[in-house]
């Protein structure tokens, strides 16, 4: 995680009760320094390997979770992602974090939306995305 000195400075000034926590977070750089959202993909079953996901909102950065590769394109207030499970792996059945999105300070995470548009199986066949869902979770929640 990157250290964000400007954010740390604001925390010290406004919220004394959180100062210790924030200090600790800034000092060892192990805690979230910027608002982050986890993109959670919910698959009905395992066996699929690629998904096209659209996330509505403004983002400052995007990172792939372990075991996944991302291709992304931003525009018109949304982020379009291709999420690829690494060779030999597939999406597990159920929920899994596939990416982490950084948003600007002060943005309300509840304003963000995401949905799956296309899914492909490990043998490259295009599949229905209707049985898939996504959600955005505030990092560390």
């Amino acid at each position: 995680m990157m250290r964000n000195d400007r954010l740390c400075f604001g925390l010290f000034r406004g919220l004394a009760i959180l100062a210790v926590t924030a200090f600790a977070g800034c000092g060892d750089s192990t805690g979230p320094a910027v608002p982050q959202l986890d993109l959670v993909l919910v698959a009905p079953a395992e066996g699929d390997r690629a998904a096209a996901v659209t996330v509505v909102g403004e983002f400052t950065a995007v990172h792939a979770a372990n075991g996944y590769r991302l291709f992304s394109r931003e525009g018109n207030g949304s982020l379009k992602l291709l999420v690829i499970a690494e060779a030999g792996a597939t999406f597990p059945s159920g929920a899994v974090v596939v990416a982490t999105l950084e948003i600007a300070e002060g943005d309300d995470s509840s304003d963000y939306r995401s949905y799956v548009t296309e899914v492909a199986s490990a043998d490259y066949e295009l599949k229905s995305a209707r049985t898939y869902s996504t959600r955005l979770e505030t990092r560390g929640r």
Binding site: A50, A64, L82
Partner: protein
Amino acid sequence: MILRPARFVLSRWLFALAVLAGVAALAGAGLTQSRTAVVVQQLAITGSLHVVWGDPVEGPPRHRVFLADDFARTYELRLSAAQVRDLGGISRLSGRRVTVVGQTEPRAPGATAGPQAVSVRSVRPEPEIAPRAAAATAEAPVMGSQPWVNLLCRFSDISTEPHPVGYFEAMFSGVKPGLDHYWREVSYDQINIVGSGAFGWYDLPQPRSYYIRDTDGDGEDDVAFGALAEDCTGVADADVYFPDYAGINLMFNESLGCCAWGGGWTLDRDGQVIRYRMTWEPPWGYGNQAVLAHEMGHGFGLPHSSGPYENTYASDWDVMSGRGVCRIRDPEFGCVGVHTISYHKDRLGWIPVDRIYVPAAGSSETIALAPLDAMPTGAEYLMVKLPFSGGSYYTVEARRRVGYDWDIPGDAVVMHEVVEGRSRPARVVDADANGDPNDYGARWETDESFTYVDKEIAVTIEPSDGLYETLVTVRYQTPIPDFSLAVTFAGNGAGSVTSAPAGIACDAEHGPEVCSADFQLGTLVTLEAEPVHEGPLTSRFDGWSGDCEGAQSSCAFWINGEESITAAFTVLPPRINLSSMVIEFDAMHGFGDPPQRDVFISNTGGATLADLSLAGIEYSAGGSGWLDTSFTIEDGVPVGLALSPKIAGLTAGTHSAIVQLTSQAADNSPQAVEVTLNLVDSPSSEQFAAALLGGPRLQRIVERFLDDLGNGNGWLDPGDFLAWLDATGAQASPVSLDSLSRGGK
């Protein structure tokens, strides 16, 4: 998805030029035209090979290779050393049926006669068709009646007749040293030439300078073998029914360049196309029985033998080398040939299997060897074969100065090292290595031993036991243990690795694999790596590492123990062809009976598309085939071909080829169609992803290509992208929007 049509058919004038080129080439092959051919023609020919060996009075031997098609049209082939090697060596070419693809060579100024020379691009063995040849293949035994006809032909400007017809009749008689008598003894009475005849002298239609002249400017006269064969048999045709004979000796009244010549030729005489054994003899050739026997030996399919030195003709143990020492000349027939060696007799099928001793591994046995000049009546062997590496072996034979062997250097056991594939497969084992394969170093006598590799193989000449003259103890221990050669594949590319000698033959697709084979110690192994092209994807060979290193596609090394070698291949981003690869030819006509004929498909468009292939020929009558090969079509049925170009190594841009369809029987052959590849670089992973995520679209044909590479469902989707990533091994880019990020950062 419909391909944008992009077919280019040669204009009428160009097609006419191609037809004219074919006519010119065929006329050249007919040997009777007196004009200079200047048109280069692409050819694909199926037929039988002839090797014609030339034996000079002095100097090294020559050989020429010809291909005769099923209509007796003959071409002289320019084969590379690798092509000859791949066919088993020059000594194994005669009679082989092959398909050759190549291009004609322009005739030298002033060249008037002789088969059209063809520079061979590829040659592929074909299965033998039903035998209709007087001359059998190099692999077939020679047995029974083998009559030869001797045709005596005078050049039109030379009137001399060196010998009367009666001379030749006597030379081929059953009275020693007549050649019927000779071949009966040499073959243990398994062949004879009874029925041979002599005819002439006939006048050739042309002077000697028409047939014998320096056409290539190398300072040595060249021989128009085909013209001599056609004209000499032509003038004798009224008197001779050629199908009655297995061989033809063409006797001329003046020298034929450097040499006396022997081999074979295909003739269309008396209504039959037949492969004949054939020799071309100058006066000094038929002036010596040994020379004629030597050339007839070539006619029977025999190569030369020699000592272990450069001089082919130094071994006096073999009529197919020095022929004998000629200590006493026959007053009428000059030098008389000695026997041929056991390797040659075995090759022609004259030594029964139960007269050949092949030791079992781990054995040590004393056997009796009978002299090679006569079939033994007792329990002796005529020959010992001692395999020592791969297909190579030593022969052991006993020789004595009896019969036609009276002119050999001495009574002794003689050994040869036989390595198939070289021009002189059998070479005398000469212990003193003094350059003389006839002296005592080559004669193995009582109490002398030959050993190989630390006495694993040993041959000891024992004293006579009074019952058998020649006793030999053969020690043949358990072969030296083999060692493993392991080949590992590395990289994300696909490729194959093969070995010579055979053993390794494996491939890998995008992942490490290991294959191995065992080889004998001291074996020279050559590995050959070839990237595999999978549809539009190509791989690159990146080199060898381990016990053999380098970037060349082949790597040669000696087996010195356990060997481990890695071959690395990398997949290359494919280039995409934007052009249609469907081409059509007009129906061919004039096949006659049968109405189906083989046609040949070849790429004659030059080097840029040399790898153009037909991944699956589909034409209206059904069937399949490949480029540079043949398939059968019906008279009057149009031919459509779906080409699958191999674009490995081709740069982006346009590349053209001319695909030619040739039938030897059709009126409207050859036909040519130009095809053009328009290659573009494949998109980057980012471009591909952007197209899927609402960014700039790719060209429609590129989208189709990528879809075909993936799931082929008609549009571009994440499944296609997934396939693309897997196929190309695309790697991650730095983390940022509009680019690739990779998990784990």
